[in-house]
């Protein structure tokens, strides 16, 4: 196209003001479609295309920072006094007051104020105007809501390296504070930069512990003194007992001497009831139970070795892992051992042999928790391996009630202090189970997943509503249990007493029956023994047993080897006998119980022959045969 529009302007007109005027439309150029050009272009097929004009948005998750709150009070100071009067000067203030009383408006206002106030005062005295109208009527039975529990607070270990919460203790006065002992119980897994501190937390403030306790070695357990809420005693990992007074700060007031303490970590320490309120006793896996007077921690006041043969032999002693002491029965106490036995002891026995009264054998593993029912002290709860068991003191053979085997190990348990039929258990998968044996005995009434890691320690506060559980990562979770599980129901005590009695009776009957059977057996075996005098049928001593076991083992091994040899021989024989395979491909042979399946011309599989042979390993004669069958892969597995 050679259209060019020329625009000229005289030089003298440059810079002149533009004078614009209207002009009718003028056609400057009209380009008509040229059909010949259309052949240069291909029409594209129609296509549907979606177009969306949408705003770009992105999603972020934001977690607010934990907000730290601090509470403080305001002190009111006198103010409002005019500048010339010093509020501390009695004379001036009295004078001012007298002057104010003579004020005109004062004299006018007081009668009004007085009458109004008097009227209301008299009204209050006459009728309780804020009275609840339907108070005192029969309480409507609330529809039972499913039991629940709510997490109130989580107290996290402020250190970098997280330690397990191995011990918890509530403050005896109202439970505003919780003391937690942190240590690492895995053997030799404690890293060198692990902090040794344990903390006392205020329930309201999860941001910062209220007090840090600094022992010389990490604490495994601790206990508040129920008589004096300022003092605490703790057992540490190296076996020492440590005594704190919270008024005196974080450093321990006294430490027991290393020579006379336990030789293993102190797993449990409990205060005793005594006149001075300074006695405590501790237990550890070295097999000893030691009594201490906290005023003199250099040496224990008493010592008991948990030897079941009652000889005081430390080598044969059972390692103690939990202790139980009930203030209403101050002379008796119980010890749970690593071997699964619960030993009941009497403190006031004269000779050490009489100290151990009896043992209860029930668990396959260490008895991690042991507690008497606060309402029925004759019955106690033990937890170990995968079950929780309830025992009656009189029945020594077995527990009267037992939960079924749970999916994971139970680590701690305790009774509810307000409801006799409720107890709590902790498991290694992070679950807290609340059992109500009057309601359901086969399953927990409430099962909560508290955290992903294992839970190790549990304490219920005295009001029965708050439960603290400590986990492996150093988190202590505070839960509030719903009111149904923490208020005494009607008839609960009598129903539970009846249940315990029933179970105890059942066990007694079973025990009696067992005894009868045993007696019969014994009398029968004695009779038969008399007939067989002369036959040496005594017990093999250990060496003979070992020799016998060895012999059996070697026989087994030889038999297996022989079997393998036979199989290999068979396999070789098969490969040679393949030359006998004719061209029909449906072959089914069973080689001493093992089948060859021939599916398609290309596959012959044998199973279980023990050798891997590829066609290259076969002899040339076989290969000739194989040329008839193409694509045979002969895998002898």
């Amino acid at each position: 196209m050679e259209i060019v529009h020329v625009y000229t302007k005289d030089r003298e007109e440059f810079g002149r003001q533009c004078l614009l005027s209207d002009r009718p439309a003028e056609l400057l150029l009209d380009v008509l479609p040229d059909q010949n050009l259309a052949s240069n272009f291909i029409q594209r097929s129609h296509r549907d295309q979606a177009v969306q004009a949408g705003r770009q948005v992105s999603e972020h998750q934001v977690n607010t920072e934990r907000f730290e709150s601090d509470s403080c009070g305001i002190n009111h100071v006198e103010g409002g006094w005019p500048k010339d009067i010093n509020p501390l000067d009695m004379e001036q203030t009295i004078r001012f007051r007298k002057k104010a009383e003579k004020d005109e408006s004062y004299l006018n206002s007081i009668p009004q104020l007085g009458s109004v106030a008097e009227h209301c005062g008299r009204q209050n005295n006459a009728v309780d105007i804020y009275q609840e109208p339907f108070d005192g009527w029969e309480e409507v039975e609330e529809s039972p809501e499913p039991p629940s529990a709510k997490t109130i607070n989580i107290f996290r270990d402020p250190n970098e390296v997280k330690r397990t919460v191995t011990g918890l203790s509530w403050h005896p006065d109202g439970g505003r504070k919780l003391a937690a002992a942190y240590s690492c119980l895995d053997f030799q897994k404690a890293s060198r930069d692990m902090s040794l501190d344990s903390y006392i937390w205020d329930v309201e403030n999860p941001n910062r512990p209220e007090l840090t306790l600094k022992p010389a070695s990490p604490l495994v357990c601790l206990d508040y003194n129920p008589k004096d809420p300022h003092t605490l005693v703790g057992g540490s990992y190296n076996g020492q007992i440590v005594y704190w007074d919270t008024r005196r700060g974080s450093q321990p007031v006294e430490l027991s001497s290393v020579e006379h303490s336990h030789r293993d970590p102190v797993y449990k320490i409990i205060w005793l009831q005594s006149k001075t309120g300074t006695d405590a006793f501790s237990a550890s896996t070295d097999g000893q139970v030691l009594w201490w007077d906290v005023r003199r921690l250099s040496e224990p006041t008493e010592r008991l070795v948990l030897d079941p043969t009652r000889e005081g032999n430390l080598d044969r002693a059972l390692g103690a892992i939990s202790l139980e002491f009930e203030a209403t029965m101050p002379t008796k106490f119980m010890v749970g051992t690593e071997q699964g036995l619960v030993v009941s002891c009497n403190r006031k026995a004269k000779t050490p042999t009489e100290k151990i009264v009896c043992t209860y054998d029930g668990h396959h593993g260490p008895v991690y928790a042991l507690q008497r029912n606060p309402f029925f002290p004759k019955n106690f709860l033990t937890v170990g391996d995968w079950t929780a068991r309830i025992w009656s003191e009189d029945i020594k053979e077995s527990s009267i009630m037992c939960t079924k085997y749970q999916m994971s190990y139970l680590t701690d348990a305790c009774w509810s202090p307000v409801r006799p039929s409720v107890f709590f258990t902790l498991k290694m998968d992070g679950m807290l189970d609340v059992w109500d044996i009057l309601f359901k005995q086969s399953d927990p009434t409430l099962s909560l997943k508290v955290c992903d890691r294992a839970l190790y320690s549990l304490r219920v506060q005295d009001n029965g509503r708050l439960v603290a559980c400590g986990s492996q990562q150093g988190e202590t979770t505070l839960l509030e249990i719903c009111s149904e599980l923490s208020t005494l129901q009607k008839n609960e005590k009598s129903l539970l007493a009846a249940m315990f009695e029933r179970e105890t009776k059942r066990e007694k009957i079973l025990e009696a029956r067992q005894r009868e059977i045993r007696l019969k057996e014994r009398s029968r075996s004695e009779q038969s023994r008399e007939e067989e005098i002369g036959r040496e049928d005594g017990e093999d001593d250990p060496d003979q047993l070992i020799a016998r076991a060895e012999r059996d083992f070697y026989n087994q091994v030889e038999a297996e080897l022989k079997r393998r040899e036979m199989r290999e021989e068979e396999a070789l024989r098969v490969s040679h006998s393949c030359s006998l395979i004719s061209s029909h491909f449906h072959l089914r042979a069973s080689l001493s119980g093992r089948c060859i399946h021939c599916g398609s011309p290309g596959q012959v599989h044998t199973k279980h022959a023990g050798l891997h042979l590829s066609p290259t390993h076969l002899s040339s004669s076989d290969q000739r045969m194989f040329s008839n069958i193409h694509q045979v892969s002969f895998h002898v597995l």
Binding site: H76, I110, L113, V116, G121, N125
Partner: protein, 96 residues
């Protein structure tokens, strides 16, 4: 003057009354039957509260004004009567 005295004495001697405080416009307790620190605390707090209550009432209706304020708590009842910027605070333990 005597009437004032009589009125106040009558209130102070009423059944169930724990204490009485009379506060003037500047917030200074003129007359009180309680100890100094408690008086100061009550006077300051209730002054502020009644001012707030008063502004609330007047915000809703400017023609209106607060005459009486009653705070019932678990332990006792605090009654505040307002007149002419004076506050009469009576703390009563209602016996039912």
């Amino acid at each position: 003057m005597a009437q004032v005295e009589e009125t106040l004495k009558r209130i102070e001697a009423s059944k169930g009354v724990i204490g009485t405080i009379l506060v003037n416009a500047e917030g200074i307790p003129i007359r009180t039957t309680l100890d100094n620190s408690t008086t100061v605390q009550y006077a300051e707090l209730l002054c502020q509260l009644s001012m707030l209550a008063r502004t609330t009432v007047r915000d809703i209706d400017p023609q209106n004004d607060l005459t009486f304020l009653r705070i019932r708590s678990k332990k006792h009842e605090i009654m505040v009567a307002l007149e002419n910027n004076y506050l009469l605070i009576v703390i009563q333990n209602p016996c039912e």
